[in-house]
């Protein structure tokens, strides 16, 4: 995978994360699940920012950024608070894996960006009920 392909793959993942966090956030009650609502809202804002950064990073490689799909499938029914939290956790786990791949397929500033994103994602998923792992983002280890 070339660095440009890795950036595009990460951007595609970021498009999905923005969409899914948007849907999840719309279903979380800000009153009865205030903490989860805030966490999802924070994640949505952060991933939107990352998406925009990635678009610029892709353009810097003289490529056209991949576009978002019209819709993305939720990881689960995303109806109850527990399901919504698990859905958010799944989204963040997927992002961590994509960031880890980006680390392995880039260098310099882009790798540093991926390292920071991977660290943030690994910590962020704890807020959605995730457990610490020896190798976050690397499923095969």
């Amino acid at each position: 995978m070339t660095p440009q392909e890795a950036l595009q793959k990460t951007l595609a993942g970021e498009h999905a994360a923005v969409y899914l966090y948007g849907v999840i956030g719309g279903r979380v009650s800000s009153s009865s699940s205030a903490e989860l609502w805030q966490r999802v809202r924070d994640a949505y804002a952060l991933h939107r920012g990352r998406r925009d950064q990635l678009m610029a990073m892709v353009r810097a490689t003289e490529a056209e950024p991949v576009e978002a799909e019209v819709s993305y499938e939720l990881p689960n029914a995303a109806a109850t608070p527990a399901q919504l939290q698990r859905a958010a956790l799944t989204v963040e786990h997927r992002c961590a894996a994509v960031y880890a791949d980006l680390v392995g397929n880039t260098s310099g500033a882009n790798r540093q960006w991926a390292l920071d994103a991977l660290e943030d994602s690994a910590v962020r998923l704890l807020g959605f009920g995730g457990e610490p792992e020896a190798f976050p983002g690397i499923g095969e280890l």
């Binding site: 991926a114 991977l118 660290e119």
Partner: protein, 222 residues
């Protein structure tokens, strides 16, 4: 561009992520150890990044620079394990909290130990701060605020008397290890190795976060 709804997110689940570079633990190590062959290189940190990224990294004529990175990273992991051990000895009631942290660092150290040839294992023990690509010193555990006395007895007495203070010391060390390991990941020439180091750093960050939010007083009180 016509876009159609899709049935699944384009982000693959972790289990199928990135099949082209999926690594078994042994393959990951082989990627590091066999780096001199240039099989998995191509991500050399380099200012002239765009031009260089498509090319294999230069093969080092003498020694594998990633083995040196692995040796330094291994030393950092061992120092962290030492700190966790003496902290657990001094404050037995922290042992349960620290157990998963120890397990994670043991996994990191085991992987790195396999990547460092026997002859090179001492290289990391001389850890002077590593130069980073921008010429600044790497804030590894050698810059830890905690002293590093020689004997195990001295190290035990260096652990703060109060559990909360001892835990705070571990949290600080985990955060420093996160930074140091990210710098190692940045330096690694092998993309596969960088990915593993980046993951280790993220794992340390997770543990720092969990330990920092632990309610030691409440949990440990009889």
């Amino acid at each position: 561009m016509v876009r159609t709804p899709i049935e699944s997110a384009p982000v693959p689940p972790p289990s199928s992520a990135h099949p082209g570079t999926r690594l078994s633990r042994r393959a990951a190590l082989a990627a590091v150890v066999a780096l001199a062959g240039g099989a998995v290189v191509g991500c050399t940190p380099d200012r002239n990044q765009r031009r260089r990224e498509a090319e294999p990294a230069p093969v080092e004529p003498e020694g594998d620079p990633d083995v040196a990175v692995a040796a330094e990273a291994l030393t950092n992991q061992q120092q962290m394990l030492d700190l966790l051990a003496v902290t657990g000895e001094r404050h037995g009631r922290l042992a349960g909290l620290l157990a998963p942290v120890v397990a994670a660092h043991e996994a990191h150290a085991a992987l790195l130990a396999d990547a460092v040839p026997e002859d090179d294992s001492s290289a990391g023990s001389t850890t002077s701060p590593s130069p980073s690509p921008d010429g600044q010193s790497s804030p590894g555990p050698s810059t830890s605020p905690s002293p590093s006395p020689d004997s195990s007895e001295d190290r035990r007495t260096a652990v703060p008397d109060d559990p909360a203070g001892a835990l705070a010391r571990v949290v600080a060390a985990e955060r420093e290890l996160t930074t140091a390991t990210k710098r190692h990941a940045f330096r690694a020439q092998s993309g596969a190795f960088a990915r593993i180091l980046g993951s280790m750093a993220a794992g340390a960050a997770q543990h720092a976060n969990v330990l920092a939010s632990a309610q030691v007083g409440k949990e440990a009180s009889p």
